[in-house]
Every structure is written in structure tokens, then in C-alpha cells.
Amino acid sequence: MTVLPTILSSRPLGTRDIHWLTAVFLLAAGPHLLRMPLWISALVAGIAGARLLQVRLRGGLPKKWLLALVAVAAAGGILLQYRTLFGRDAGVSLLVVMLALKLLETGTRRDGMLLGFLGCFLLVTNFLHSQTIPTALYMLICAWLLVATLIGMQYTGPWPGWRHPVKRAGILIAQALPLMAVLFLLFPRVQGPLWGLPQDAYAGLSGLSDNMSPGSLNNLILSDSVAFRAEFNDGRTPDPKDLYWRGPVLWDYDGRTWTAPRLVQNIEELPADGNIDYTVTLEPHNKRWLFALEFPGRKPPRSMATRDMQLLSFTPVRSRMRYEMTSSIGAAYGADDDQSVLSRSLRLPAGSNPRTAAFAEELRSRHGDDRSLVAAVLDMFRNENFVYTLSPPLLGEQPVDEFLFGTRRGFCEHYASAFTVLMRAAGIPARVVTGYLGGEINPVGGYILVRQADAHAWVEIWLEKTGWVRVDPTAAVSPARVERGIASALPRSDPLPMFVRGDFALLQRMRLTWDSVTYTWNQWVLGYTPERQRRFLSHLGFSEATWQTMSVMLLIFAGIAVLFGAALALRDLRQTRPDAAKAAYDRFCRKLARRGLPRGAAEGPQVFAGRAAQQRPDLAAAINDITTLYVSLRYAGKMHPESLQMLERRSRTFKA
């Protein structure tokens, strides 16, 4: 009984609607089209073009079987391309192609609206690839135009021009913002994923890996993408030379490549008595390492600590993660490590790098004390002609021999590797530590920004009674690398990401401001996790927010937001013509009624005026004036503000 005609739904769409739908679809799918294999992008563009041509030539909609054929063929092609239909990229490609085909057969308003809704879904899939501010703005514009397209389909009368639906959509979206904010902040968050994610969901995330061979860090150094940001409590940043962010610890050497052991003993508790407190916001890197200054003093939630002082998340870090950390700078650990650990840290492959081994024996014979032996090697790096460069010559079968006694040009990984091999050969337990060194202090946002370009490798050696101590051979070769960052350490001719060198002051400033905005964005928008939501609620005074309290709060605040939206929307509903003329006339009638001249219920103004003028000839002129004004205002179409004012004045000054 409330079901109304589907008249509108089955109404055919106009040419204009098809144009809008096609344009919005291409806009929404645009970022995908640029990423997808060329043949899929070309197919989609071709289908969209065909739809426009079809409208232009007023052709009929294509046959269903033809569409089905194309759909099956496209799905087959996608299956061949990606070897699956359910991966992230394959799924998105399939969605885009199917939407394009849907566009091709969209003829009625019902189809058009369905396509619009599916377009909303397409918008969200773009966030699988990027969630930056520019992406967000682009998608906002797409959503806006999409809503405008939906509105455009609803006009039954003459088309009011493209501005009208666009403006309407803008108003709708703007008025929806308060409710959106409430939902975003208070809608109970669940930690994903709810179901298994496809294999390729995190393709393209970069970061340190669990192995290192000559040249493996170079790719990372050339990337200016952000590894993490750290905000120090009280704005107290440590000395740049102490900013060693510990990552994977590499124990095992096969003569060329260092790898991290698969299993390392866990330790239950960390000392938790650091001398510096900070918060790290880690970008997803699809590995389990959590980075902290040497040496970490506590475990972040849902993570564990290992005996070699790595922090490992239970699951690979696939979304931006924020954790509070404390570290003891300049400390050592593991003085009581047992023989198994130490012997593994002394192991070298038999017969590799013989010259280095011989050199180590020679050193050993000269220096009985471990510390003086280390100092001697560092002196060698410092005083002989070792060069720090990002483009070292290639090394062959015995990389350490070739490096130490031949090329002598290398990058942090060459120095770390050579130093560790030397130490082990000399009988000092040693291992390679990778991570990041330094970072850029952002004065705008008050935090340190660490990029992939800050990746670094150093060494730690075990000294009796002291434990594991950090030694950075790179610092001996190029102190600037440690003190002032990679850009100042490398020769100008070496390629580096533009952002890492700060040659232009203005550019630098803009970059820092932008990164600070991005940081805030990451913190508050992208990093609004269930945990952060809890913290936000506890700021509001709900320290133990349960599902119930959250739902109640959500309902209350959403109610307020909806009321606010209603006030905005229904504001225009107020009558712009509250009958001012009638009010003025009624006032005049009341005055006459007080003098014993009431107007009859069914008496028209003219009739009443005649009767009143007869009974009060003295007032006849005024009565006629007011009545004429009122009648002309009331019944002669449009209001004239001047005559209304005159009527109001006359009725006010009228004296019966």
C-alpha cells in the first residue's frame, strides 16, 4: 500500500545521464587504469567509448549474450594475467571490467543508480593502493560527482544545468560531514582482517629484509619513502650520533650473504628503565620488525622481544602502527650470553676470504686485548684510503678480501660485513645489525622522520664482562654519515632521492611542512585504530569503554548530528512569505472589532469594507485604502515589498 510506482525506476536514462555516468566511472577507475595491464585498461576505455558512441548514434543496447561473452572472455584474460581471480589486483581488475560492461547495458534509471552504487565500491578499492591526502581529495571529488550524477538522474522536469546537481550534491555532502565525523570517531572499530587477505595485498611495501649481501641496501637508500616517524616526549631529541634504530640482527654468513636466524630465543621481560621515551609511528613494511633505539626497554603490545634485542610483532606489520617506547642509549646487554650464542657469533664458512683470516690472525698476535684490536681496525679504516660511496665496484667470490685489500670503496654494508668477518676471524663474537641511522628532525611537527634512505648496517661485538657493544665501522670512514645524515656523507655526484638532500631552503621548508601535515594525517586519520579509539574515548572520560557504552555514545552523538543536519536541511522550509499582509489586515480588523464592528466569518474583505464604511463614514477613506492594499497584495499575485510596508504602516497607525 505504500509501494509506489516503479515508474521512475524503469524510466530510460537520458544521453546526459549516460555521459555523466561514463565520466564518473572513468574518473573513479582512473587510478586503477593507470596501474592495470595495458590490455585491461584499453578494454575498459574501449567499452566506455563504445557506450558514448552508442548514445551518439542512438543505437540499441547490446545483446545480453554478447555482453556475457565479453565478460567471460575478460575474466579468462584476467585469470591468465594474474593466475587468480581473487587476488587484490585481479579482483580490482575484474570489478573494473564488469562495471564497464554494466555501463554498456545501462539503459534505465534503475541500472544507472545501481552503477552509481557500485561506483562507490570502486572508489573504496582505490584506497587499497594509496591512502595519501591527494588520493583522499581525489576520491572526495569523485564521490561528489558521483552523488551529483545520482541527483542528475532524478530530474523529471527541464534540466536545470550541471551546476544545479553539483551544488546539491555539495550541500548534501557538506551537511553530512558532522554525522560522518561522529561515525568515524565513535563507530566501534574491529581489528581486521575478518577473512584471509589475498597474497598480493601488500605487494610493493619496502623495507629492510632478513638478509644482506653487497649492494642489497642500495635500492633502499634510493627510496625516499618513509620508514617511520618518532616523536620524543618533551621534545627532547637525542644526539644524532645516538640515533641507531635497531632492526634485523644478522648472525649467519655464507661468505657473501648475511642472514638472520630463523629462530631466536625470546626473553620475557625487557628492563623498562630507558633514559629516553618516545612514540614510533611505523609505516607498514610487511615484515615483523619493530624499530627502536638501541637498546629497547619495553615490548609494544602484541609483540615479543628476542635475546638479540629485536622487537618482533606477532604478525607482519601491514597497517600503520603506533607504539610507545623507551630506550637506554649507550647501554650494553647480554654479558651472560652462553657458549652457544657466542660460538654462533664466531662461525665463518671454511675457506672463505683467506686473506682476511690471515690478516685477523696477524692482528690478534699484535693485540692481545679485544678493545685495542677493534681500535686498530677502526684506525685502519679511518687512516688508510677507504672511501664511503654509494656506487662501489662489484665484488667477486671473496668479497671481504677484495674489499679490504683491493677496492676499498664501499657502503655501510661493505664495512659492516668486512668488520664482522675480521672480528670473527680474530676470535671476537660479532654480528651485523641492520636498521636505520639518524633521521630528519622536522621542526614543524616536532618529530624525527626516518626514511628508507636512512637504512644502515653496523656491527655489534661481544666483550667479556661488558656484553654486546655497538661498533659502527662506517663512522670511522665517514663520520659525517653518522653526524649529519647520508646526504652530507656521500659525494655530490652520487644519486640520491631529491628529498634527502636539502639543497633548497624553501623547498626544504615546504617539504617539512607537507610531511608534518602527512604525519598528522597518519596519526589521526589513517592511524585511528581500535586502540587509538579507546585512547580517544578515555580522553573523553570513558576509560573502560565497553561495546555498550560505545553504542550508547554513538547513538547519542549520531542523534545530535542528525538533528544538526535536519536543522540545516529544513531551514529553507520556513515559509518565506509568512503572511505578513494577513497579519497587518487582522490587526486592522481587531481594531474595528473593538469599536463594535467585527468582521463576519464568511465576510470577504471588500464586503466588510463596504459595511464598515457605511457605519463609520468618518473612517471610510482609511478603511478603503487598507482594504484595497490588502486585496491587491493577497490576491493579485506577487508581493511588492513597498505595498506590504505601506499596508503595515497604515494598519499600525489606523485609529478606529
Binding site: 510506482p5 534503475r110 530530474y155
Partner: protein, 331 residues
């Protein structure tokens, strides 16, 4: 069984009462109906439910892939949908509906009721639909501070007075996710003439000689003089030459013994004809006589239309046929 039938019928009555109460159905209303808040109902359309489903899907995807921006977009579009509900409501609310004109039609034709929709607010209303049968509708836009007329067509099945009954005003604007509607049972009516028989019997032979007799009556044959124009006079009898001379509308009068006495009579029809058939033939005669410009009278059991001609006379005669034997001369 009877008990069950009684229960069923009382339940149906209860349902009817509940519907009456919810939708405020209270029979035809005179004057202007204002679609105040209480009279405007709103529910999501099928598309609206579909949209909600898509939003839910987007939310699930956002949870699974931990897409904060996915959350934001889903919430933004969801909130936009909810806001569109208010906009759909305001697109219909506070409109004023009143009855417009409706011209008489013959049975079997479409009766067209005009409905005046007035907008006293400073914003234009778009795509307001008016329907009675929920199958077809007339859509209008109502300008800000203005009014417009929508037309509802109803098949006129039987002669007599036709009421449009309860009409539904509705809108899907702006996004189509919600449907706001309101009922208006305007006190309006349209006169339905009997369907003219086709083919009709030939016009009866004019009968000469009657109590009036002579050349008093108006006929077709002989020009007998001019008289001032009266509304309803056939345009073909206007004395154009005289009008050109005097700038006053004049009608030519004809006198004719023969044409004077064209009586269209109920009794002239074959006795085996039933009442509706007779009325149908009489309607055909009235139309034919008028088309030929004859002066004619109409005799029905219980009423007589004296001999005259012109559009007004034709309307009077057809009205008499339409309302023959009906209790209400006025709706």
C-alpha cells in the same frame, strides 16, 4: 468458520483503522490541503536499501583491509544518504494542494483533474509526482514562491459525477534513496457525460406544430433578425458583417417552422432499449444536433430542456443526461 470469518473481517477493519490513523485518511477535504510534517511519510526505496547494502559491504572491506579512508568514505556516503532523507522530506513538505479545474468528459474518455500545487518556501521543489493509480504519474517542478498545476488522468467509466479519490503526492528527489509521499483527498469532481452511441440512430424528424407554433422558435432556415450576442451562441451564427459595422457582437436569429420543433425525446427511442442505451443515443443526438447548428430541446422522464442552441445549451443537455436518475444534481 463463521467465527473465523468474523475474526478476519474484524482484523481487516482493525487494519483499516490503523492505516486510517497512521496515514490520517479522513475522506475528502475541502479547500487547501497543506502537506504539514504529520502528513508527509518517508521510507527508503529499493534503491535506498541497495545503497545501504553497498555501504555495509564497503565497511566490511574497510575493516578487513584496515582502510581508514575506506571507513571515512563509507561513513561519508552513508551520512549523505541519511541527509538525503531530510532533503527528500523537505522537497515535499509544506506544499499546498488545492483543487483545480476539471472539464466534463464523455464516459470512456480520460477525465483530467487539475491539481494546483503552491510552494510558499524560497526553494524550488523538483520532481513532485502526483498519482492516483500508482501506475502512471504526472511530474511537476514547483518554483520557489510559486505554483504549478499537475494533471491526474482517470478513466471515466460511468456517467455522472466522478471523484478522483485519494491521490498520492510523492517525490524521490534528490538522490532517489528515499521516497516521501503524502495523501491528498481533494473534494473535487468531474462531470462524465454518457458515452455517445456510435453509430447513433438518425436524428428524429423535427415535428412541426406545437403549443408554441409559428415562427417564434429559433430554427435554421430563415434569417429573421439580429439580437445581441449571448454567451453560448454558436460562433457560426455570429453576424460578422454587423459586428464589423458596429463593433458589437451580434448573433443572427433564424426562424423556421420546420426546424423549430426538433425534440430529442426519451420516448422517441425504441421501447426495448434500456435506460443507459437511451441516454447514450440521446447524447449522440445532442452532439449531432449541435454540430449541425440546430436548435433542439430534450425531453427526459421528469425533466425537459426547452429548445435552444449553442454550446451552453449543449452542455446543459449533456449534463441532464449525465445526471439523469441520479440523486445528486450537485456533487
Amino acid at each position: 468458520m463463521p467465527a473465523m470469518n468474523a475474526t478476519l473481517s474484524s482484523m481487516a477493519a482493525l487494519k483499516g483503522r490503523i492505516l486510517d490513523w497512521i496515514f490520517q485518511w479522513r475522506g475528502p477535504e475541502r479547500g487547501t490541503i497543506v502537506l504539514v510534517q504529520r502528513r508527509v511519510f518517508i521510507l527508503p526505496t529499493r534503491q535506498g536499501l541497495l545503497f545501504a547494502g553497498v555501504i555495509l559491504l564497503m565497511l566490511l572491506g574497510s575493516v578487513n583491509y584496515d582502510l581508514s579512508l575506506g571507513f571515512i568514505l563509507s561513513f561519508l556516503l552513508g551520512a549523505t544518504g541519511i541527509q538525503s532523507m531530510l532533503h527528500t522530506f523537505r522537497n515535499l513538505a509544506n506544499l499546498r494542494i488545492s483543487a483545480g479545474r476539471s472539464s466534463p468528459v464523455f464516459a470512456g474518455e480520460q477525465a483530467e483533474f487539475q491539481i494546483r500545487i503552491t510552494n510558499n518556501a524560497g526553494m524550488q521543489r523538483y520532481s513532485i509526482g502526483v498519482t492516483r493509480d500508482r501506475i502512471s504519474a504526472d511530474y511537476v517542478d514547483v518554483p520557489a514562491d510559486g505554483e504549478t498545476t499537475a494533471t491526474v488522468s482517470i478513466p471515466a467509466l460511468r456517467r455522472g459525477w466522478l471523484r478522483p479519490g485519494r491521490m498520492t503526492l510523492f517525490t524521490f528527489f534528490p538522490v532517489g534513496l528515499f521516497r516521501a509521499w503524502s495523501y491528498a483527498d481533494l473534494d473535487m469532481h468531474c462531470l462524465v457525460y454518457p458515452a455517445p452511441a456510435s453509430p447513433g440512430l438518425p436524428l428524429p424528424q423535427p415535428r412541426a406544430g406545437n403549443d408554441k407554433g409559428g415562427t417564434q422558435g429559433q430554427g435554421q432556415d430563415e434569417f429573421s433578425g439580429l439580437r445581441p450576442y449571448r454567451p453560448g451562441d454558436s460562433p457560426r451564427h455570429l453576424a460578422w458583417k454587423a459586428i464589423a459595422r458596429s463593433d458589437v457582437l451580434m448573433t443572427k436569429q433564424f426562424a423556421g417552422r420546420v426546424a423549430a420543433e426538433l425534440w430529442l425525446s426519451w420516448d422517441a427511442l425504441p421501447p426495448e432499449m434500456d435506460a443507459e442505451k437511451r441516454l447514450s443515443h440521446l447524447a449522440r443526438w445532442v452532439i449531432d444536433a449541435d454540430a449541425r447548428g440546430f436548435a433542439y430541446g430534450l425531453r427526459l422522464p421528469g425533466s425537459v430542456m426547452p429548445i435552444a442552441s449553442g454550446a451552453a445549451h449543449r452542455a446543459d443537455c449533456l449534463r441532464a443526461l449525465a445526471l439523469h436518475d441520479s440523486a445528486a444534481d450537485h456533487p
